[in-house]
């Protein structure tokens, strides 16, 4: 019996030791958390390992490449930007734990580009950056809900929403495939629900709609989808899913000799990620695709040239793809926001800077951003292109045709947006 008591005592002692794990003292409060005379600290959580990390794990390297370049050229008013990156393995529990570390231990000024709808939502509820006044800049998801400034007052989106994308696809179909039979493959969750809402607003009538459950995408299920599209005699098939669904579908279709006009959503249309799943890039050839930023192979574009040069030096041997371009572009926009936040940036002045000047920030995007005092909506549209045999998306006929719209019932319009020229040396002015 004595042994049992000892056991419980041991338990109690262990609890004591645990919770008492090194009590960290709070450092003297500076002007703003994460900002010192020589440094601005930002934090990022995203999947660096695991299946969901494919392609995305290049984003921190890309953002750091730009920040290093910026730091080497004087930083932001003499302050160097430090980016603390943590792996959340695409698991909400991890995202919450790591974000807590970023805010409470590393004491970052702002969170940058967290990835995944479920993760961002869990962090918003549990960590509650809004209550702590921590800005969440440029979340890496197309879920339109994060632009809700009442629910997420410190969160800023950057990617165009899934609804916008579906509406623009609908408009393109009306203009180019009138009278054709259209098929749709979509993910049977919020991602797909957003897409369906967009297509409905655009007035697209589908000959066949095929939902798939997230995680069920394989060559075998793709064969089943193809049977349905064939039965409905679809001329155009839209794949509005994740990369693994796109690659399963295109890979299987190539083997079966099934060749409709493919149209790929931007989430599942990244050639590098598709190639990583083991499907040759050639299957993408001639598919229609959508992107908010220029083709990553377009070296005549000043931003693409500038970013790819920096990236090649910082991370030699790594391909310059869409994730890299978006990662660097996010870092570039962040730098401008910090610069615009004044000589002694605070969390509040950082957000105020995006509200007042965010829409005019230089960015590689070919579509305008919607930031204002009342809106945290990022990019608002896409250009339409076709995939080359190498799997790279390129504008049809060599010119970018861009469309803009909103996540509501607003019209889809061909954009006349003129992108601001890149500031000298790619540094915020």
């Amino acid at each position: 019996m004595k042994a049992l008591q000892r056991r419980t005592l041991l338990t109690a002692t262990a609890v004591l030791a645990t919770v008492g794990l090194a009590v960290t003292a709070l450092p003297a409060q500076a002007a703003e958390v994460g900002v010192t005379a020589s440094q601005i600290k930002l934090g990022m959580t995203l999947p660096m390992t695991g299946t969901a990390s494919l392609g995305y794990n290049k984003i921190p390297g890309a953002a750091k490449a730009y920040f290093d370049y910026l730091n080497a050229n004087g930083g932001i008013n003499g302050r160097k930007i430090t980016l603390v990156v943590k792996d959340d393995r695409y698991v909400p529990t991890e995202a919450v734990a790591k974000t807590n570390e970023l805010i409470l231990k590393d004491k970052v000024m702002a969170l940058l580009a967290p990835l995944g709808t479920a993760n961002v939502k869990a962090v918003a509820t549990s960590v509650n950056p809004a209550r702590r006044g921590v800005p969440v800049l440029f979340v890496n998801t197309g879920f339109s809900g994060f632009a809700d400034t009442k629910k997420y007052p410190t969160t800023y989106t950057v990617l165009p929403s899934y609804i916008m994308e579906a509406k623009i696809m609908g408009e393109y179909i009306k203009e180019n495939f009138a009278g054709k039979k259209i098929g749709l493959l979509y993910q049977d969750d919020d991602f797909g629900i957003d897409a369906l809402a967009g297509f409905k607003t655009a007035g697209v009538n589908f000959a066949v709609k095929v939902p798939y459950a997230s995680g069920s995408q394989s060559a075998a299920s793709a064969a089943g989808w193809i049977t349905k599209f064939k039965a409905a005699e679809a001329d155009v098939v839209i794949l509005f899913g994740v990369s693994s669904a796109t690659s399963a579908m295109l890979g299987t279709a190539a083997q079966l000799g099934y060749k409709p006009q493919w149209m790929l959503g931007s989430v599942g249309g990244d050639a590098t990620t598709i190639k990583l799943t083991g499907v040759p890039a050639g299957v993408l050839y001639n598919a229609i695709g959508f992107s908010p930023v220029p083709a990553t192979t377009d070296m005549t574009d000043e931003y693409v040239k500038f970013f790819s040069d920096i990236y090649a030096k910082a991370v030699p041997g790594s391909a310059f793809d869409l994730n890299v371009l978006l990662g660097m572009n996010t870092a570039f926009m962040t730098a401008q926001a910090l610069k615009a936040a004044g000589p002694n940036p605070t969390r509040k002045s950082l957000m105020a800077a995006i509200d007042s000047k965010g829409a005019t920030f230089a960015s590689s995007a070919l579509v305008p951003a919607g930031y204002s005092k009342t809106s945290h909506v990022g990019l608002t549209g896409y250009w339409v292109g076709k995939y080359a045999p190498t799997g790279d998306l390129a504008p049809i006929g060599g010119t970018y045709v861009t469309y803009t719209t909103d996540s509501g019932s607003g019209p889809v319009v061909k954009s006349t947006y003129k992108r601001p020229a890149m500031p000298a040396k790619g540094l915020p002015n």
Binding site: T8, A12, T18, V19, T49, T93, A118, A124, T125
Partner: protein, 335 residues
């Protein structure tokens, strides 16, 4: 024989533990409080595995799925019907226990790799079922909001401290219950069945029923852990219950000593502390990102191998065995 002693349930000790935790939660900073809540969740989840595997001898690779059942039950009741939070947690226990009974009924006919395979399939398949029913919120999940701490606790009382209090209380209650269940006739019949099923049957134990009961109780506890996990992240979504969760629980159980409840805190602390330790080590060494991100997995795997090699029954059991040996030697020399 020792009837009067057996009835001792160590209640005062658990109450004392609770008081210590309350005091501690007031001293340490917010991050530690949050980690404390996570540790409490793991303590509950791992003790459910120890009960099932260590005492009743059944393997489950699917406890993450049972946690998901509990979490979803609690979240749906909260989101749809605004049920009081305490009832949500009770519902989580009951829902997961029902799931456990069903699984246990199947499990009683299976053993070894077949049981492992069945529960593994559950861990893979069950959470993504949520995508099929709109009421469960799909991939982005459902909010699970236990609400703000009562105002009576003061304005400075943080949300995480509230989470910690709830989780720690739940952990103390479940540890106390599990300990007493294991020391009851049920616990003894589980151990008898684990040791030798035929002998247990000859002794009059209905081993099939006893196994299903173990699964039911273990699942109920796992369900509670799931609901608490959902509380700490404020949401429930399929991706919060990946296969890796089931595996890390099992890892935690092995590190704790699969057949000793007392060591459960060791495993829980290790699971929470390792990523942080790895982070510190990697930054000291200035290693590359790929090292930083893979180091936690490496450390946990290393510890797992070392545990199995050197302290297969866990550090607590090992310590106790050594002590018993020492005492025996001491006593014999005395004679």
């Amino acid at each position: 024989m020792h009837k009067s002693k057996k009835q001792s349930t160590h209640l005062p000790l658990f109450i004392l533990g609770g008081i210590v935790l309350v005091i501690l939660s007031g001293i340490v900073d917010e991050l530690r409080v949050y980690q404390g809540a996570t540790i409490a969740v793991y303590v509950i989840a791992i003790s459910s595995i120890i009960l099932l595997t260590g005492y009743s001898g059944q393997v489950s690779l699917g406890h993450g799925a049972l946690m998901a059942v509990g979490a979803y039950a609690a979240a749906v009741l909260r989101a749809e019907f605004n049920v009081p939070i305490i009832l949500c947690f009770i519902a989580a226990v009951l829902a997961a226990a029902v799931g456990g009974t069903l699984l246990g009924a199947a499990a009683a006919r299976l053993s070894g790799p077949y049981l492992a395979g069945t529960t593994l399939a559950l861990a893979i398949g069950l959470p993504s079922l949520a995508n099929q029913f709109p009421i469960l919120g799909g991939e982005q999940g459902l909010a699970f909001d236990v609400g703000f701490p009562p105002l009576a606790l003061g304005e400075d009382f943080t949300q995480y401290k509230w989470y910690f209090w709830i989780a720690a209380l739940a952990a103390l209650i479940s540890m106390w219950s599990v300990r007493n269940i294991l020391n009851s006739a049920y616990g003894r019949s589980w151990r008898a069945g684990r040791g030798n099923e035929v002998a247990a049957q000859l002794a009059g134990i209905n081993t099939a029923r006893s196994k299903v009961l173990a699964f039911t109780i273990s699942a109920g506890i796992a369900g509670l852990a799931g609901a608490l996990l959902a509380m700490t992240i404020g949401t429930v979504s399929p991706s919060a219950f990946p296969l890796a969760l089931s595996f890390s629980l099992l890892t935690g159980a092995v590190l704790s000593g699969i057949s000793t409840l007392g060591g459960v805190i060791i495993g829980s602390v290790v699971l929470v502390a390792i990523p942080e330790i790895a982070d510190v080590v990697a930054h000291r060494l200035g290693s590359s990102e790929s090292v930083t991100t893979n180091l936690p997995g490496l450390i946990v795997s290393g510890l797992l191998i070392l545990t199995v090699l050197f302290v297969p029954n866990g550090p607590v059991e090992q310590h106790r065995a050594r002590k018993a040996k020492h005492e025996a030697a001491h006593n014999s020399t005395k004679k």
